[in-house]
């Protein structure tokens, strides 16, 4: 009896925490259907989706969304390719060198993002005169996401049969052929999760983007930051709703997909 009470209390605690976490987001979603300029007026609901129409006509917001995705897609693809290939290399490095390279790989992971951002900015100034915009953003986003790709591919390599590569070489394939047709397919789950991480890290990045974007380019993060200072457009509520529902759908989809694959694997065995 006493045990049951504790369980109910724990469940209440879980749902209260969930409600607190989601209340601001829920309010934002509700008010994305209200035309009022600020949040708080409950009278101005029209449910016509005016803010969504505004959103698709707002060139600055659409431009920022486009930039964010463009930079995230390009940098995460480059990071995934470099990260997966070099993870193989790092895994098989001689024992004395491996910790050094792993340490170098960890630098941007453990470092404060703002320090990395300032370092990148000074580097671009010193080495390229003055570089900003897309090249600077793609280089910096690629470099900060590669370590995460490597870290998510590494555990997969540890599970791999170490003789596969040599077997492929003995059977006559070149080193790159052995990598792409034998090793990489086996590493695929790690590569995919590395890519997803690289992509979301680049999407959400703020500080590195702010310091290296130059004046012409805005991303979602930097646009919100600059507009919170001088009044944010109500259309951002519509944008937030779309992003939030999109992320929710993708994550739940991935989990359902994984659960199904797991069930299939169990049945197959």
């Amino acid at each position: 009896m006493k045990k049951g009470f504790g369980t109910i209390l724990a469940r209440i605690f879980i749902y209260v925490m969930l409600a607190v976490m989601y209340a601001p987001i829920a309010i934002l979603i509700i008010f994305s259907f209200s035309g009022s300029s600020g949040i708080g007026a409950w009278s101005n609901f029209d449910f016509t989706g005016d803010l969504y129409l505004d959103l698709f006509q707002d060139a600055s917001i659409l431009g920022a969304v486009g930039n964010t995705f463009l930079i995230a897609i390009i940098s995460s693809i480059i990071a995934t390719i470099i990260g997966s290939v070099s993870a193989v290399g790092i895994y098989y490095l001689p024992k004395r060198i491996k910790p050094i390279v792993s340490g170098m790989n960890q630098i941007t992971v453990v470092n404060a993002e703002i320090v990395t951002a300032v370092a990148f900015m000074l580097f671009f100034i010193v080495c390229f005169g003055y570089m900003d915009g897309y090249p600077a953003l793609i280089i910096s986003h690629t470099m900060i996401t590669i370590p995460y790709v490597i870290l998510s591919v590494m555990p997969r390599l540890a599970q791999l049969n170490p003789n596969l590569y040599e077997a492929a070489r003995d059977l006559g394939s070149g080193p790159f052929k052995a990598l792409t047709s034998v090793l990489l397919p086996q590493m695929l789950p790690g590569i995919i999760s590395g890519f997803v991480m690289a992509f979301t890290l680049s999407l959400d990045d703020f500080v590195i983007t702010l310091f290296n974007k130059g004046s012409g380019i805005e991303t979602i993060s930097t646009l919100i930051y600059s507009s919170t200072k001088h009044g944010i457009a109500p259309a951002f509520r519509a944008l937030s709703t779309i992003i939030f529902v999109g992320v929710l759908a993708v994550l739940i989809g991935i989990n359902i997909f994984q659960a199904r694959a797991r069930r299939k694997a169990i049945k197959g065995a």
Partner: protein, 277 residues
Amino acid sequence: MSTAVKTEKKKPRFVFKRSFFSFPYIALNILFVVIPLAILLGYAFVGQEGEFSISNFAYFFSHIENIKTILFSLLMAALTTIICFVLAYPLAMCLADSKINKSAILVLMFILPMWVNSLLRTYALQNFLIDLFGMQRGFLSALIGLVYDFFPFMLLPLYTTLSNMDKSFVEASYDLGANKVMTFLKVTLPLSVPGIVSGVMMVFMPTMSTFSVTEIMGNTNTYMIGSMINEMINGGDWSGSAAFSFVLLILVGVTMVISNFITKGRGEAETGVGGII
């Protein structure tokens, strides 16, 4: 037979080792990570006329406001970490307990905000607390903003460690006569130290250097070291921002050393990053 072996040995064949695949990245890492940090370090010691000097650091430590800002950043980071921990630990225990929660989707719901843009979440919270409930911008609203923003990063590593923990230790403790409090203090808590350390690291360090959350949620009294660096960059003071970044780098290093000291001998701490996918 022996001659054939000899001729093969005479002609040393170039063997492409797997480790060679790491060379391009090592080069890129040196170019885009190590060299930029070296440049940052160099800039930190450049004076007004481009000469070597420690004037940036002298300036930094001679102004009481700078020291206050550093201490305030440390205080905010510590408070955020403590509040996140106090809220997340019981929640992680409840979520990891199969008697209370069987749903993986529920766990996912708590981790989900990690994948949503932090600025967007802060913007939602600003709308909620300040516009809807009329809360005053200041210390409290900034602190709530930080806790709201970094909470999932504390929860995920704690949940990962607690749900992977071998439950038979807890049962053994009960069988040997320990009560709930004793079992928690002597079994559950010590076993979850790696998760606690990685949760603390994932909250404390980013909080210390953030400026977007405290600027959106707070006012001029919630000025953090990140805002200071940002302002210097906007003002074109690169040496100054490099020096301030260097101070932050040292704080990061000290935190790392402390956390390594705590986890030493307990096996590797799981980062917990992306554990859900």
